[in-house]
Amino acid sequence: MNRQLKFFEAIREATDQAMERDPAVYIVGLGVPDPKGIFGTTLGLQEKYGTTRVQDMPLSENAMTGVALGSALVGMRPIITHQRVDFALVAMEQMVNQAAKWHYMFGGKAKVPMVVRMIIGRGWGQGPQHSQSLQAWFAHIPGLKVVMPTTAHDAKGLLAAAIEDNNPVVFIEHRWLHNISDEVPEEYYTVPLGSARVMREGNDVTIVGTSYMALEAVRAAERLRADDVSAEVIDLRTIRPWDVETVLGSVRKTGRLVVTDTASAAFGVSAEIVATVLECEFASMKTAPVRIALPDHPCPTSPALSNHYYPRADHIVRGVQRMMGIEPTTDMPAMTPHQKLDVPDPSFKGPF
């Protein structure tokens, strides 16, 4: 069929189809039914499903997370949305002490099928409080699942799977992916949680990426062909549980590992991937592993600074070159604020 859909449309379609299939599914969040519809992902749903199944809410993220949880206990399947990961920080108690633990701590008597959508802001001066990437926090908590789709296809299938799942699933969307298109089947389908996607096969180095950084990894792999390096790119897709087997299998083949993540390297998801691979495949490794992720400080607002805050394909290329003892073929492009690196592509205009 070759139907192209944008990532945000794929999210909407998955929600729509899930709501159609199961009357227990409902969606609640600040601005869900508003004219912007969470970056377009919820547009039209209230018209179709009414004001009970598609709801706005008070500015009370912690209580509303509890409300979603409570409704899930008795059979509803809530989706709760946060326009920034940062806003969800007020809801950590409900997410971590409660949602993650009710199944275990009641000996299996309770279950909490809920999806918590969170968006990672980036660019256009989102700054220190609108751009955090806290997947490592959620991944550290047994009882939660954590999903970070990269492609529109996976966004649809993973969201459908998250909604079908009988556990609390944190579904993290990177703002710079919302307008990226790819082929998305019209019919309902799921992509199983916990399986990675090999985006590109290769033999010399394994690059594991999360979310938007998986795209930068693909770009890096293309550039590395000039150095005769064949890079395998793995989009992790699910952070918890993550697809250990696919990653280990790749590393057994390549003997080299680069991990690139949208969050800080320090105590982040990339550390866990590196640690697990080195514990399990030390003998296969030809070189030290490399992490390409955010530096260890908050995100500044000025484009002159934030443009240098985010790693890009170049950094990945450099990492691989260093690891393989290759003299850099390309100079890292000097960056100036005039390059407008704080927007993903010309279709994206500030302020949001």
Binding site: H103, K109, N166
Partner: protein, 326 residues
Amino acid sequence: MPQLFDSQLHFKLYKEMLRIRIVENSIAEHYGEQEMRCPVHLSIGQEAAEAGACAALERRDYVLSGHRSHGHYLAKGGNLKAMMAEIYGKATGCAGGKGGSMHLVDIDAGFLGAAPIVGSTIPIAAGVAFASQMRDEDRVVMVFLGDGATETGVFYESVNFAALKNLPIVFLVENNFYSVYSPMDVRQKGDHRIIDIARAHGVEAHQADGNDLDLVYQISSKAVNKARAGGGPSLLEFITYRWREHCGHGYDNDIGYRTEAEFLSWKERDPVAAYERKLIARGLATQHEMDLMANELKQEAEEAIAYAKQGPWPELDTLSSQVYAN
């Protein structure tokens, strides 16, 4: 709702209240054996509020609670043996030993769960009520909380949401004047009344003597009936007193946060003794009948403890199971 001046009802209320007293006393007696290896928060002294409020509910209604939940669990009809076994950490416990005293659950009885992070089950209860409303079910939710819990942000957020949506929920506050060892005056302004705050949110609210079993039952019944009829949420604040230490089985009037005199004045207002006097005065029960019942209940409690003690430990393979639901 059964008729209030029905002698059977009186006896039923009394029995529920007495049962909590007797079970809690049994726990206190055995706790020193150090076989119940988890924190327990006893509600001796507060039984009237717990029994009276839950008696207003139907079995299909739901209750949620916090750290001090034994009484709510029992009053809602939770299985006693499963509770004891849970406190003893046994496989036969209501949560398979994973929860302990602070995490009781009995889904069949409508006791959906208790959790000891103060304030946390309040929005969860609102969510249960929200689901009940969305599905047009005929169920009411009651959530128990303490005076301390009314200081948590999530409590206010939940009250606002319940008012906004007109949810079928009763916020049931047992005000026992203390949050652990912290008295009111380090936590709330002198003339602060939680019922005023609820009312300001448009939630009907009443404050009453929590040691008066009939009164608790009457007020709770009204609130439950109102909620069931689509009349929305209520907040009920029952004034009462915890006799034992905050956590554990002993007394702690000697450590300095409250006086022995204060405790004794509340002991004089013992809800169980008061109700016994009332039943006798009104000719609704004889001392003999009440003694018989106490004996029966004591036996039931001791049997539950024996059941718990002899129950098997959880299998080791349950340690890492039930992390995720299928």
